[in-house]
Symmetry: C2
Subunit: 112 residues, 2 copies
DNA sequence: GTAATTTATTCTACAAAGTAAAACTAATAA
DNA sequence: TTATTAGTTTTACTTTGTAGAATAAATTAC
């Protein structure tokens, strides 16, 4: 079992992107979600590096799609989050929530 | 001005710790908050490295306290967050919120 | 049937952030 | 004048973040 390290911020974003894409999460769509939702324009190579690492840690798993492409192009590699991945994501969120709790009150000078 | 990079997760935690400590944020107290609130036990050296980097990026500023210690020991270095630091923190939060939005609904199998 | 074209993944290399351990500093107390 | 105490800096290394180029495997157009 993966030595319970912490999730990096980008790793969290990627996990969340996979979750919201559901069954059709693969390189290009994940990258697009990141761009659409948080305007984060990351190179596709950078994204795959993170995907590989997340899989090595057991936080996601992947499966190659059938080679039934219509308009040319290589087969897609689909990703989904594992139970451990969900757990890691929840933990990261809980920590951040805990740190933010009460802080908002004293956080003057910046509109929320 | 600091080339608007993204905040790492630990950097966010440190900024939040400083915010909630208010006027008495310095090495030891920041470390203690991290331990109390999110059970993150980081070495003091690691913390200072991050503090230094945050200051270099203009997200916090520091000031040495008067040498009026009572029971021996060196003067404290107090930290406070800058306007830019608050902004960066807000942005990081907004991105994470945006990515989490709607995800909760499809997030079955893990108690929230 | 082979050379584009298209869609996608993998590799390589480096920068930035996370982290610990040891060294150092500057006070007070014995 | 040497401990002791409370605190900060330095050094060194691991992990994450990131881009760009290379590669792969399909389809389509001569």
């Amino acid at each position: 079992m993966g030595k319970s390290r912490f999730l990096g911020e980008f790793e969290q974003f990627v996990l969340l992107a996979i979750l919201r894409l559901g069954v059709q999460a693969y390189g290009t769509t994940i990258r697009q979600i990141l761009l659409d939702v948080i305007q984060r324009d990351v190179s596709i190579g950078a994204l795959y590096t993170t995907l590989t690492r997340l899989e090595d840690k057991g936080l996601i798993r992947s499966a190659m799609g059938e080679a039934t492409a219509e308009r040319g192009g290589r087969a897609k590699k689909y990703f989904e989050i594992t139970a451990e991945g969900k757990r890691a994501l929840q933990e990261a969120r809980q920590s951040l929530d805990a740190m933010w709790r009460d802080v908002k009150l004293s956080f003057v000078g910046v509109k929320q």
